[in-house]
């Protein structure tokens, strides 16, 4: 390794290894090199095997939200993995000053889940997701990029696998984010990672662990008994659908969680889609008036949707299309793009496919039900 990689400094230490900043003389770039902790008391063969697995699984994944593995090798000190060097901070470092803004959370949650979707799609579980394993990299544009680190415990797993236990019989992974099935030594699957992600999301939004205790046993019992303070109580400003979505991720029973990371992403729709510039224009830049208008619109639209449903039921499809058009007119004035798109679809299909329109009507209702959160988000005075 010394010929090609010049170790510069230690930049991190994990359960299985130490991470260094190094210079790759062949490609003339800085890289991160993870080396096994040879004095950790673990048999070197097992550590080597773990690292090789980590390297293979990671190198199979090329994804913007998963750290990229460039190379793997072994020298007189043991095996090492060469990875892209990330200039960022782990989530636990970032969280020290406070909690994540709800808007940042949306981006953070989506990126993290996209990384998991990629890993799960090739049968990889992480099994050790925790804030220290999520790196936040700041981009020149001012935006951030999430990188999932340390798939050190990941194994190919298309089917549920038995819990991995180390030689001291202690469970691997960070106890605050481990799923109940990991304590119970039950079979794990993708939903195990979703539980950990849910607990991380809770932590990101509140700055506190969902499952707490004075000792490891107490923390474990909190997980097993599913004792946690509802997210909305800890941070009331988080919109209700976001709270429900996060809490569903960390449901006690695996079957109550989303079936997959993709399913979790598909159900991520915490706020109505509103063109804020248009709404601001309609409300003359006054957030209070905007809130009043949205609330008024909800009341009006609910009445109109009932009317439209009656018209669809009785076969008055022209009238139903006209009612949808009325809803669209007001929604357009307020910049409520989600409603506009549903209304347009109903206008188009009222005559040819009333059944489909009745289904769309349910979408109307659920979009309206989320309006309260849009109102809560209006903060143009800030």
């Amino acid at each position: 390794m010394s010929e090609r990689y010049e170790i510069k400094e230690q930049i991190g230490r994990g359960g299985l290894g130490v991470v260094y900043r190094a210079f790759d003389a062949h490609l003339n770039r800085d890289v991160a090199i993870k080396k096994v902790l040879v004095d950790s008391g673990e048999p070197l063969e097992e550590l080597t095997a773990n690292l090789v697995i980590e390297a293979k699984t990671l190198s199979a994944l090329k994804h913007p939200h998963i750290v990229t593995v460039h190379d793997v090798g072994q020298d007189e000190d043991g095996p090492y993995i060469v990875m892209e060097l990330l200039e960022g901070e782990t989530l636990d470092s970032i969280m020290k000053p406070g909690v994540m803004a709800v808007d940042d959370f949306e981006e953070f949650a989506v990126q993290t889940l996209e990384g998991l979707v990629a890993a799960h799609s090739v049968g990889l579980l992480h099994r050790d997701l925790k804030p220290a394993n999520l790196m936040i990299v700041w981009l020149p544009s001012g935006k951030f990029q999430v990188k999932i680190l340390d798939f050190g415990l990941a194994k190919f797993s298309r089917k549920p696998t038995a819990q991995t236990v180390d030689h001291k019989d202690s469970l691997l992974g960070s106890i605050f984010f481990m799923a109940p099935e990991q304590f119970e030594r039950s079979p794990l699957d993708a939903r195990t990672d979703l539980y950990s992600i849910g607990a991380i999301f809770y932590y990101a939004l509140t700055g506190q662990y969902p499952f707490e205790g004075e000792s490891a046993v107490e923390v474990m019992n909190a997980h097993l008994e599913h004792r946690f303070t509802p997210l909305a109580e800890v941070r009331p400003k988080v919109p209700d659908p976001v709270c429900a979505w996060v809490e569903r991720l960390m449901a006690r029973k695996m079957e109550d969680r989303p079936a997959s990371a993709q399913d979790a992403l598909d159900t991520w729709n915490p706020k109505p889609v509103i063109d804020e510039a248009q709404l601001r224009e309609a409300a003359s830049g006054d957030p209070e008036l905007a809130a009043e208008l949205l609330t008024g619109f909800r009341e009006e639209a609910e009445g109109l949707i009932e009317k439209m449903n009656r018209e669809l039921e009785s076969g008055e499809t022209d009238a139903a299309a006209e009612t949808a058009r009325t809803i669209r007119g007001t929604a357009s004035t307020l910049g409520y793009t989600e409603i506009i798109s549903i209304a347009s679809e109903i206008e188009e299909h009222a005559k040819s496919d009333p059944e489909r329109c009745r289904g769309l009507s349910d979408k109307f209702s659920s979009a309206l039900a989320r309006l309260a959160d849009a109102v809560a988000r209006l903060s143009w005075n800030d």
């Binding site: 409300a283 003359s284 009341e299 009006e300 669209r328 007119g329 357009s332 004035t333």
Partner: protein
């Protein structure tokens, strides 16, 4: 900009609030009615320079309101701009036949609405001035 008195008739509260606010910002004096009947009642009681009339309303729709209105007031006495979400030619033609001065499509493009209102108000003032001059026999200064 004038201090013209504008009446708007729209059964949607949100639209009434938005339009009222926007037109007031432009310097108009604005009164809002929640339907055709209420608009006709208001017009009986007080003078308005222009009516912005929504076509689709439950109690008395814009077309019927316009038809009744034109029995009493000419297109110069009370210009009417129809607001409709329906851009079918048939409806537009019918509105003009019933005596609408102009129409705007919903969602309302406010700069377009302001321009159309001003056009109608200028036309009304010019026509009234012409009538006054014709009656008095000589033009007034200014």
């Amino acid at each position: 900009m004038s201090e013209a008195r504008i009446l708007i008739a729209d059964d949607g509260k949100v639209m009434r609030v938005v339009i009222t606010r926007k037109l007031k910002e432009k310097g108009y004096e604005v009164t809002a009615a929640a339907g055709g009947r209420e608009a006709l009642d208001l017009i009986e009681r007080e003078p308005f320079d222009l009516l912005l009339l929504d076509v689709s309303m439950p109690d008395m729709d814009g077309m019927e309101t316009l038809e009744r209105l034109r029995e009493r007031f000419s297109a110069i006495q009370l210009p009417v701009i129809m607001a409709t979400a329906n851009d079918e030619d048939e409806d537009t033609v019918r509105a003009f036949e019933l005596g609408a001065n102009d129409y705007v499509l919903k969602p309302i493009n406010f700069p377009v609405l302001y321009a159309r209102i001003e056009t109608q108000l200028k036309l009304k003032r010019a026509t009234e001035e012409l009538e006054r001059v014709t009656k008095s026999g000589r033009p007034q200064p200014g």
